[in-house]
Subunit: 307 residues, 2 copies
């Protein structure tokens, strides 16, 4: 073990610093080339070699200002990207979001609410670990029967809490109980009350913005009704139409209300992508969000497409 680490370090030194080829290193160290290759890989796994990428944070200040003005939103973070590839834009955006939110919570005693979705999942995934035992993380709604990891609110809250070394409070109740009676019973549990109290006192809510696909997903599980027709997107299971009017599609749900979100000290939405444009505009019009984090191509669409 000790000896192996010595070898990894030496190989890494000769490879990365002295720019020798693996073949040369094999000769120097009297090993086969394949072993050198393995040592170099292991050196990274063992953290003997660390490859760090410095994020020059490239921000489009003019777009940020324009978004704040056009949509009457407090803050906007528009992340510069060199090309409009969707996956790359998403990656850069969630990384920027991670950096932004890290700065908000890193010496904090904050109550942090997490919604769901692929963007939020990616955001958590890209968050660099920190240790802030005084923060608390919790989901914004009860559980659903979705199998995709990015819809499991408790799991997302847990994984974010894990990243920031914080406590987590789970929502041990369903988003939508089968009937009103069950709903009332759940509301009497201490589990619900704990979350209810937290929802009424959120410091930072981190939410994604769903587009019309979400309505299909919800419809399949909880049924369709006429209100679904007008909805074009959601923020944390609160649906809205193109004008930003909130239409509560379902009743008797166990989740943070739209007022909980409005009353949160800061509600941050992370969203980007062509197919989110309309939904993001609707979401901004609801005035639930006070900070939007997106990429420059999405920003351009928000500003110059007509809806």
């Amino acid at each position: 073990m000790e000896f192996q680490k010595k070898q990894m370090q030496e190989a890494a030194l000769l490879y990365y610093e002295k720019k020798h080829t693996q073949h040369e290193i094999a000769q120097i160290m009297n090993l086969s080339r394949q072993t050198v290759s393995k040592l170099l890989n292991d050196a990274i796994k063992e953290n003997i070699v660390e490859i760090k990428i410095n994020n020059p944070e490239i921000t489009c200040k003019d777009f940020e200002q324009a978004i704040c003005d056009k949509f009457n939103v407090k803050n906007a973070v528009v992340c510069g990207v060199s090309t409009d590839d969707e996956s790359l834009c998403r990656l850069m955006t969630v990384k920027r979001a991670a950096a932004y939110i890290k700065s908000l919570i890193e010496n904090g005693n904050k109550k942090i609410a997490i919604s769901w979705g692929r963007t939020i999942q990616a955001f958590i995934n890209e968050f660099d670990s920190i240790n802030t035992p005084d923060n608390v993380v919790f989901p914004l709604f009860g559980a659903t029967d979705q199998e995709q990891a990015y819809f499991l609110s408790n799991e997302l809250a847990r994984s974010f809490a894990d990243k920031i070394g914080a406590k987590v409070k789970y929502a041990w109740f369903p988003y939508k109980p089968d009937n009103i009676d069950d709903c009332k019973l759940f509301k009497k549990t201490s589990y619900y009350k704990k979350l209810y109290d937290l929802w009424n006192d959120i410091d930072i809510a981190v939410v994604g913005i769903g587009n019309s696909e979400i309505i299909q997903v919800f419809g399949k599980i909880f049924g369709y009704n006429e209100k679904c027709m007008s909805a074009i997107g959601d923020i944390s299971a609160h649906f809205f139409d193109g004008n930003g009017k909130v239409v509560e599609v379902y009743e008797n749900t166990l989740c943070a209300s739209k007022d909980n979100l409005k009353n949160a000290k800061q509600t941050i939405a992370i969203a980007c992508g062509e197919n989110k444009t309309e939904a993001i505009i609707g979401a901004l019009r609801t005035q639930i969000i006070d900070t939007l984090i997106t990429d420059e191509y999405t920003a351009k669409r928000l500003l110059y497409n007509n809806f």
Copy 2:
């Protein structure tokens, strides 16, 4: 420029973090593969990507103790190496020496004397830059007509001073003036006096150990005499025989005396390699050195070969 950095960062992210191939990145970013390759190289040059190698310092404590005991020397640093390749041993040794000496001088107000030789040059080369404006660096002897960079004492002192962000005091006089009169004249100059004072008050002297080859080098320049016969090595131009008895081969030289070195608060020798074994043993026997930095293979030879 700004845009290029954005590209470098993105390419680096996709390459090092997301493990995409350069070909895939080219497709994502809509560039040719060659451009991606260039971006990745530039990212390293521009310090957007930093590759750091953590030195797990592997030390052979038992050898260190044995060397202290056998040669009556205060400190020994024996650097573990996985194989006995000479160039690798030298590299690891000078790196360890750099780390050791860094810790001695980094918040210091120290007068640091530097000798010459390939080992010292490599040591300086591997030293990670720091900024310690209160340190002073100076050579241990006047200039010679050698053309090799590693024999230019002033240049070595300058480059080390540069690495540590310290002041440098040059020796603007020859190691061995052509005749006694010149020698006396040089001794009267303020340049000499400045160095003379420094030599009498050295905090840390960093020296190499020369083997018999050095006697040839000196002989060719300054002539041979019967004293050369007994010399088997040198410390900073002070020759010694196999028993560690100092034999001053040349007179009227302008350099720190052996007593200057003995009176230094700490005299550190860096030396390793098969062909240095005998010289190192002689050097230790002179009792001029109080710290020896070497590798485990050399240490083994010092301890178990008979001379």
